[in-house]
């Protein structure tokens, strides 16, 4: 076998069962690689079970920024019997497979694949001491990437500082074994170094999508979270709960999603800035509450973490198929805003601004994410907190205050009870300016108009879509949300001068530049992780624009860079 020559960007995949500690390994690798000066990206795909089954974690280690999932596997660690079958389409002759004999599918043992066998005794026990599989893998990768053993062991000692001395020693023992092993068995077979070190990003931060949304929310002044656990939205609930005491915010697990959304609306009424975090099924239950927010013009921020439906669907998988539901959920007519981050930075900014927009216009604001986005991590430069502002819009009331007074732009000054001497009322029935129930047709019409008028008022705060790639494009790919990293990497790889990518952060109301940007292209391509091309439907119903091609995926797995490259090439040739 020839020597393997890695590029400055490797993709390591560890494939095991739930309960084998893939998550810890992912954490360890992300952290050490980042502090050692690599760019990193990680994504886990996992089954809806606590133990067993087969899950896999992809970790990319690179000297360029990486923020997307690739099919390519440079190094594969199968760590249980079922590790390889689900990855078949991704394993090639270039993949370095490192694992115990029994975990390597026999069809790969034909001499054509790069297999490095971990001796049984090495991988599990050696001279009475346990070899810890996770640490072994950690050691092999750190060794291969040229991180010296002292750095690695120092890192482990800090990471595991809460463990007993003995356990720490076990870890260090496994680490040493891994370095030895790499030197003897792997070095000779691959060219070194794998990647170059960087420096600038040593001080960068590592964020999962869930963290990014949570941090953004906190920066936006989120002070109240009421939710009910549901994958993949629970990460945000957990993050907020963990920080509740430190941040002085209220975080409550409600008995159901209906309670969650009504608590949140109550909280806004009383002056808090509230968010709910949920997934499709949970949100479906909140839609009556959404309509309540619409009626009483309550701000509310809804983190809607998408997963494949309908119904329970694939609880731990990814999809972007709840956009039209978000847009038209709730009975009756009222405005709303839908935002969707593509990068972790965007998530921080959008989540922060979601609170300001909600407060300013007194409308529901959605942060639309998905499992792929939330459960993937990468490093990013320090957040500029000075740019993240909490802007409060409520006022101190005076006697005679009317909560829903008619104004030119439809926005009535929002008072809260107990702040000022006015009386603050909210009624879900159609109401007059002071919220007393009315059935007067004229007042009704004016109230509808007032509420809908806010849609125009909002245009000033619209977030325009981001164009990357060729400025003089002929082909324009349109995407939204979590696909942005993958599409960006794909178009760079394609390197076509006629090609550009338009990434939408704000999906509704549509940014006003939409049509002009679309028109400039000869051919437009919509790329969405759903089966019915929901964003294209919105664009058509709002602008009339019809896409020439659509690239859709809805099998629960995220788009890979390779897949997008292939599909785009088909459209533009």
């Amino acid at each position: 076998m020839s020597k393997i020559q890695f590029k400055n960007d490797i993709s390591v995949v560890i494939s095991g069962s739930a309960g084998q500690g893939l998550q810890t390994l992912e954490q360890l690798l992300l952290k050490i690689m980042k502090t050692s000066g690599f760019h990193v990206f990680a994504y886990s795909e996992f089954m809806s079970r606590i133990r067993g089954g087969n899950n896999s974690t992809e970790i990319r280690i690179s000297n360029k920024r990486v923020a997307s999932f690739v099919d390519r596997i440079d190094i594969l660690f199968p760590i249980e019997e079922g590790s390889m079958p689900r990855l078949r389409s991704r394993i090639t002759k270039d993949t370095l497979i490192i694992g115990r004999d029994k975990y390597i599918e026999s069809s790969y043992k034909n001499g054509k694949y790069n297999i490095v066998l971990l001796a049984d005794e090495l991988s599990e026990k050696d001279s009475g001491k346990q070899i810890i599989m996770n640490i072994m893998i950690f050691g092999i990768i750190t060794a291969l990437t040229g991180i010296d053993i002292n750095t690695a062991s120092g890192f482990l000692k800090t990471y595991f500082k809460k463990l007993t001395e003995e356990k720490i020693a076990d870890n260090i023992y496994s680490l040493n074994k891994a370095y030895e092993y790499t030197e003897v068995n792997l070095r000779p077979r691959i060219s070194y170094p794998l990647v170059k070190h960087g420096k600038a990003f040593r001080s960068e931060i590592l964020l999962y999508g869930s963290d990014a949304v949570s941090i953004g929310a906190l920066a936006g002044g989120c002070s109240f979270v009421s939710s009910y656990p549901m994958s993949p939205s629970t990460g945000v609930l957990v993050y907020m709960a963990q920080k509740a005491e430190d941040s002085g915010i209220v975080v409550e697990q409600a008995e159901d999603e209906i309670s969650a959304v009504n608590m949140a609306i109550g909280a806004w009424y009383a002056g808090a800035r509230a968010m709910v975090t949920t997934s499709g099924g949970g949100f479906a239950l909140m839609t009556e509450g959404l309509s309540l927010a619409g009626a009483i013009e309550s701000p509310i921020v809804i983190h809607l973490a998408q997963r494949p439906g309908p119904a329970t669907g694939l609880p731990t998988r990814t999809e972007q198929a709840d956009l039209l539901m978000a847009l038209y959920a709730g009975h009756g007519e009222f405005p709303r805003v839908i935002l969707s981050p593509g990068t972790k930075d965007e998530a921080v900014t959008l989540a922060c601004n979601a609170f300001n927009i909600a407060d300013k216009y007194q409308v529901p604001v959605f942060i639309l994410t998905d499992q792929y986005f939330l459960d993937s991590a990468n490093n990013l430069s320090l957040i500029d907190f000075s740019k993240l502002k909490e802007k409060k819009y409520f006022i101190k009331t005076a006697p005679g205050y009317k909560r829903h007074s008619f104004t030119k732009n439809g926005i009535s000054p929002r008072g809260i009870p107990g702040y000022g001497t006015g009386i603050v009322c909210a009624d879900s029935d159609e109401h007059d300016e002071a919220d007393y129930i009315t059935e007067d047709p004229d007042t009704r019409m004016r109230m509808v108009n007032k509420r809908l008028k806010k849609l125009s008022a909002m245009t000033g705060d619209t977030i325009q879509p981001k164009l990357t790639g060729s400025k003089k494009y002929k082909y324009l790919i349109v995407g939204w949300g979590s696909t942005s990293g993958t599409i960006n990497e794909a178009i760079k790889l394609i390197g076509n001068n006629d090609l550009a990518f338009l990434h939408f952060n704000q999906l509704y109301p549509l940014p006003d530049k939409t049509m002009s940007l679309l028109k400039k292209a000869k051919k437009t391509i919509i790329l969405e992780q759903n089966a019915t091309s929901q964003f294209a439907k919105i664009i058509r119903s709002e602008t009339g624009h019809v896409f020439d091609y659509s690239i859709l995926k809805y099998d629960g797995m995220p788009f890979s860079v390779e897949e997008i490259v292939k599909k785009i090439k088909k459209c533009i040739k």
């Binding site: 931060i205 941090i215 906190l218 920066a219 002044g221 002070s223 109240f224 009421s226 509740a244 005491e245 430190d246 941040s247 002085g248 915010i249 209220v250 409550e252 409600a254 008995e255 159901d256 209906i258 309670s259 969650a260 009504n262 608590m263 949140a264 609306i265 109550g266 909280a267 009424y269 009383a270 002056g271 808090a272 800035r273 509230a274 009556e288 509450g289 309540l292 009483i296 320090l382 957040i383 907190f385 993240l388 909490e390 809260i416 009870p417 107990g418 702040y419 000022g420 001497t421 006015g422 009386i423 603050v424 009322c425 909210a426 009624d427 879900s428 029935d429 919220d435 007393y436 129930i437």
Partner: protein, 283 residues
């Protein structure tokens, strides 16, 4: 009576003449007046139904939300600003039917709010279908052969969930109802006041007369701290006891339990942004 809670102009009250709701409104207004609750610190919360229109007739802050959802909204309000006095008022259908899940879990959560339920054993606003508390055999346009579900027993369920304060009143007795409401509002924790309320339009069984004949007041001998005794009273359905069935003040309130209020008593809206602290979270 004249109080800050009255309107200057006469209000068109959407209830039927003779409805028990008028007495409850009166008792409630007397109670909050006598308790000297500041008008701008009182929030009346309700769902949807005839009873749920009550806040429209009291000059104070109100939040009239969705059918069945008064309790979560009230919980969110109280937790965001514990300085407010929060009274949730709604019907039996709203609270025990559509809102049944919130009823049981709000009791468990124990926010410091008062929950007044106008229990007329019928859906008034939607024109007379059975409510969870309707008695067996009660006939309506939908319950054609008469109700065949076991009547929901709010007293028993509240006691079984170890609620902080559980009482029953009777609308027509304004004085007693007022007293019970006052005690409920003063109680620290979730306080249920289920009020028997005649609906003159749709409940021809449980009339003023019927309530008079089928209720009696608990006397001073009843120890409201005795849970099993309270449960025994809750099971009584020959004549229904009125008064305070049960008090349990061993548990902290929801707000007291919230880490957010551990060191900082300010309502949420008065707190400043923790943007600076977030940097620490990023370790």
């Amino acid at each position: 009576m004249n109080s800050v809670f009255d309107f200057k102009d006469t209000v068109d009250i959407a209830w039927c003449p003779g409805c028990g709701n008028f007495s409850i409104l009166k008792a409630l207004k007397l109670a909050i007046n006598e308790l000297n609750i500041a008008q701008d610190k009182l929030v009346m919360v309700s769902g949807i139904g005839q009873a749920a229109k009550t806040p429209q007739y009291i000059r104070a802050n109100f939040f009239n939300g969705l059918h069945g959802r008064s309790l979560p909204a009230a919980t969110g309000i109280k937790a965001s600003n514990p300085e407010l006095t929060v009274i949730a008022v709604s019907g039996d259908g709203c609270t025990y039917g559509e809102g049944g899940n919130h009823f049981i879990h709000t009791i468990r959560r124990n926010p410091d709010i008062t929950n007044i339920v106008h229990n007329n054993m019928v859906y008034g606003l939607t024109k007379g279908q059975a409510s969870p508390t309707s008695e067996r055999g009660f006939k309506t346009p939908v319950q054609v052969t008469g109700v065949y579900l076991e009547p929901f027993n709010p007293m028993a369920v509240a006691v079984s969930l170890n609620a902080s304060f559980v009482a029953r009143a009777y609308a027509a007795d304004i004085e007693q109802t007022k007293e019970i409401i006052k005690k409920a509002v003063n109680n620290r924790g979730y306080s249920l006041v289920d009020i028997f309320q005649p609906c003159v339009s749709f409940n021809k069984i449980n009339t003023y007369q019927w309530y008079k004949e089928n209720t009696y007041y608990l006397d001073n001998n009843h120890d409201p701290y005795d849970r099993e005794k309270a449960m025994h009273l809750a099971f009584e359905n020959n004549r229904f006891p009125l008064g305070i069935f049960y008090i349990n003040n061993t548990n902290k309130t929801f707000e007291e339990n919230l880490p957010a209020y551990k060191d900082n008593k300010l309502p949420l809206f008065q707190r400043s942004n923790i943007r600076k602290k977030i940097k620490e979270f990023l370790d």
